[in-house]
């Protein structure tokens, strides 16, 4: 067992902000920590990483208490920033050195990641060299390396890339990514995703907290959903989905079939130009509806019966609790 979180609790006065959180990561991969705003995800992460004291519980990494001494951790916090007035290169070397990477190695890694994330123009800006008397007529041209840019001289998206570099510089075995893709444009989101995929392929353990369910679903194998400090759903994502069964039916026809849907007892969620999103109780109900349509000679262009998405599970689990109030 690599990471074992047991009975983690945090109270502020009488208010419980994390209540007996427990989960395990047996193998490399992505573990998703999900929840509504204020559910206690960030507090749980802070406790796991030793930034906040906890009222009870333990976090073990390969049998030892989790800390930078027992595990090489890379953390991308939700609230992230850079020193606005210091040069980016100085900051990155500093962060790497704090994680025990020596200066020469840090410079190599920064060079690699800056190219990978396409920010080398800010870390190693250049300007064309003026042609000297001796180079005139030789066709030779050169560039002068300028001082690295400061954080307040680059865009927010590029700052986010630099922040990801700080997380990856120590080549961590455990990555904790709190809302890693919030605020990124689609191009940079894909860039971040490709890096996460590479880290998974390298056998890294990743804990990811996000509100972007589609992104989480793309990577994670196991999840914990928190709601108001409590764990409301936990387990392997595929197993959870199987529990819910194939209840989402997408039907596309060439005419109106609302009447047949009602007749079958299924629930029509939405409809647009004879494309129907239907909630069924299971495969049997869906097949019965399909049989009825064929029997009536209605052409079925698309029949897609699938499990609920993580987004739907999340809304059902958390939304249900909120509706019950």
């Amino acid at each position: 067992m690599s990471l074992v979180v047991s009975n983690l609790s945090k109270k502020y006065g009488t208010k419980t902000v994390v209540d007996n959180l427990s989960f395990e990561m047996k193998e490399p991969g992505v573990y998703a920590l999900l929840g509504t705003n204020g559910a206690g995800k960030t507090t749980a992460i802070r406790m796991m990483l030793g930034m906040l004291s906890r009222n009870s519980g333990s976090v073990l990494w390969r049998g030892l208490p989790l800390s930078t001494a027992t595990c090489n951790i890379g953390y991308l916090p939700e609230e992230r920033g850079l020193y606005p007035k210091y040069t980016l290169l100085d900051q990155l070397i500093y962060f790497a050195q704090l994680r025990g990477v020596d200066k020469a190695e840090a410079k190599k890694r920064i060079r690699y990641w800056s190219r990978r994330l396409d920010v080398d123009e800010y870390l190693y800006p250049t300007k064309p060299a003026k042609r000297s008397f001796f180079s005139r007529g030789t066709g030779a041209s050169g560039e002068i390396l300028l001082s690295s840019k400061k954080a307040d001289q680059i865009s927010k998206g590029n700052q986010q890339k630099i922040q990801l570099i700080t997380t990856l510089l120590s080549d961590p075995e455990l990555l904790v990514l709190d809302e890693p893709m919030s605020g990124l444009d689609p191009v940079n989101t894909d860039l971040f995703k490709s890096i996460i995929r590479d880290e998974i392929a390298k056998g890294k353990y990743i804990i990811m907290s996000s509100h972007q369910m589609a992104t989480v679903e793309e990577f994670c194998t196991n999840i914990t959903i928190l709601d108001r400090s409590k764990t409301v759903l936990q387990g392997n994502l595929n197993a959870i989905k199987k529990q819910y069964g194939r209840v989402n039916l997408l039907l596309k026809t060439e005419c109106d079939i609302s009447e047949y849907i009602r007749e079958s007892g299924a629930v029509l969620v939405s409809e647009k130009e004879f494309e129907y999103n239907i909630k069924v109780t299971g495969e049997e109900q869906a097949n019965r509806l399909l049989g009825r349509l064929i029997e009536r000679g209605i052409t079925v262009i698309r029949f897609d019966l699938r499990e609920p998405s993580l987004h739907e599970i999340f809304v059902e689990v958390v939304g249900g609790n909120h509706d019950a109030e």
Binding site: G13, L49, S53, P77, G81, Y86, Y94, L98, Q163
Partner: protein, 453 residues
């Protein structure tokens, strides 16, 4: 390895300090790369040089410079029997000077002066109605200063008076008796009473010593803590702390900053003194003004006291470092209580208020305090930072009591560090309104009840 601090129900471990060196070197490097910091340093050196020039030029008439002639030639045309030993005995400064009564004529003595830059000729001649006149002369390339000439002229005048008395039949013993030295000093009634009652070593000089020392400490404290507070709040406002706290413990983060700021301030002060020293050398070598150790002695700094001086410098250094650490940790915690740059003022005010309290207590006690009260203040944390080195230097407390004072200050520093270790992390993560004192202790209480990671 575990260190002290069961006082707060918690222990600090070696890992609490891991990374301090890296935080220190990064922070110091950034201070030294900062254009505003470099401009400030240059400005300080320039200011120090300008102040030195102003001080020397304005005090040139008040503070005598050192005697610097090696030969005095007396051309005696007065008719009196002037003795060289009378001139040499006028003041100890003339003891090593070659004093001769010229046998040549006035013109040939003057000619020799050009080739002897350390020589002075003094012509004693009769003017109208038997009145005598003493006129000093120096050569073209003379290095002799005006103080030396003034002293030699007085010595010759005194020698003439003695010669006249002897000629009038008064013996040497009678002359010694009549001219036995005496001193005059003036004291206010309060100073007189304090000397009588408390035996304080000179009310006024004690006050000036306290004043000079305290002003250095308070300047260091206020400048440094404003740097520390700004640095802590900037880091917090930059949303960097969470990233940093994965790699270093909050105490190491604070300690690294405090030490870097101390080094930066010491460097500033060193440059300041370098500016003063450089200007003094320039003044001594290239101008007709002079800079002398007596000027520093006038403000309580004695460069000629040898071993005692080094011990005193050590005492001052240790006291300043302890005081600096006390106020810096308070500044760091106060800074961490803020969430944005607008709240910095309040955090700086807390430290400034505490420092001013210590400073003013030290100053008032130097005027109105009794010996016993000063000894108590030497032991009282915060106030002792300003009082203890001065009371030790002036003999009010002994070395033993000074050690007790340092020990108490060290305990306060350790307590503050332990408290900082407990609350600093939570404060760095805190957002919103500035954390007040009650909330601060509530955070400490929460941390005490919680399991430390």
């Amino acid at each position: 390895m575990k260190y002290s601090s069961r006082w707060w129900g918690e222990t600090m471990t070696r890992s609490d300090f891991a990374g301090t060196g890296k935080v220190f070197s990064f922070t110091l490097a950034q201070y030294l790369k900062s254009k505003s910091a470099i401009s400030m340093m240059v400005l300080m050196v320039v200011l120090a040089s300008v102040c030195t020039i102003i001080m020397v030029s304005s005090s040139a008439n008040m503070i005598p410079v050192s005697f610097n002639a090696d030969r005095a030639v007396i051309i005696n045309e007065s008719g009196h029997d002037i003795r060289t030993e009378d001139i040499a005995g006028f003041t100890p400064e003339l003891a090593g000077v070659d004093i001769v009564i010229a046998e040549e004529d006035f013109a040939s003595v003057l000619r020799q002066l050009d080739s002897r830059p350390g020589s002075v000729a003094l012509l004693i001649e009769k003017v109208d109605d038997g009145e005598l006149s003493v006129t000093p002369y120096t050569g073209a390339g003379s290095t002799v200063n005006s103080y030396t000439i003034f002293l030699l002229s007085n010595a010759v005048t005194e020698a003439i008076s003695l010669a006249r008395l002897r000629e009038a039949g008064i013996g040497d013993e009678q002359i010694d008796s009549a001219f036995a030295p005496f001193s005059v000093s003036s004291l206010s009634y309060n100073q007189y009473m304090r000397r009588q009652e408390d035996g304080l070593p000179g009310g006024e000089s004690y006050f000036w010593m306290t004043y000079a020392y305290s002003i250095i400490v308070i300047m260091l404290v206020i400048f440094s803590t404003s740097y520390i507070v700004r640095s802590v709040v900037e880091e917090k406002a930059s949303k960097l702390v969470e990233l940093l706290m994965v790699s270093v413990k909050p105490l190491a983060l604070l300690l690294g900053k405090i030490l870097a700021t101390m080094c930066f301030m010491v460097l500033n002060m060193f440059l300041l003194f370098l500016g003063v020293a450089f200007t003094a050398v320039v003044i001594n070598n290239f101008t007709d003004m002079s800079f002398s150790p007596e000027m520093l002695a006038a403000v309580g700094i004695n460069l000629t006291s040898g071993g005692a001086g080094i011990l005193l410098i050590l005492v001052v250094l240790i006291s300043v470092v302890l005081g600096y650490l006390t106020f810096s940790i308070i500044g760091g915690i106060a800074g961490a209580c803020c969430s944005n740059m607008e709240q910095i003022g309040a955090a700086v005010n807390i430290v400034s208020f505490l420092a001013l309290f210590g400073y003013l207590t030290a100053l008032f006690s130097s005027i109105f305090g009794s010996r016993e009260l000063l000894a108590v203040f030497s032991l009282l944390p915060v106030v002792s930072i300003f009082v203890a080195p001065v009371t030790y230097a002036s003999g009010i407390i002994g070395f033993g009591l000074l050690l007790v004072s340092w020990l108490l200050q060290a305990v306060v520093v350790a307590l503050l560090a332990a408290f900082g270790a407990r609350v600093y992390g939570a404060l760095l993560i805190h957002k919103g309104n500035r954390v007040g004192l009650r909330q601060l202790f509530s955070i400490a209480g929460d941390a005490k009840r919680g399991v430390q990671a």
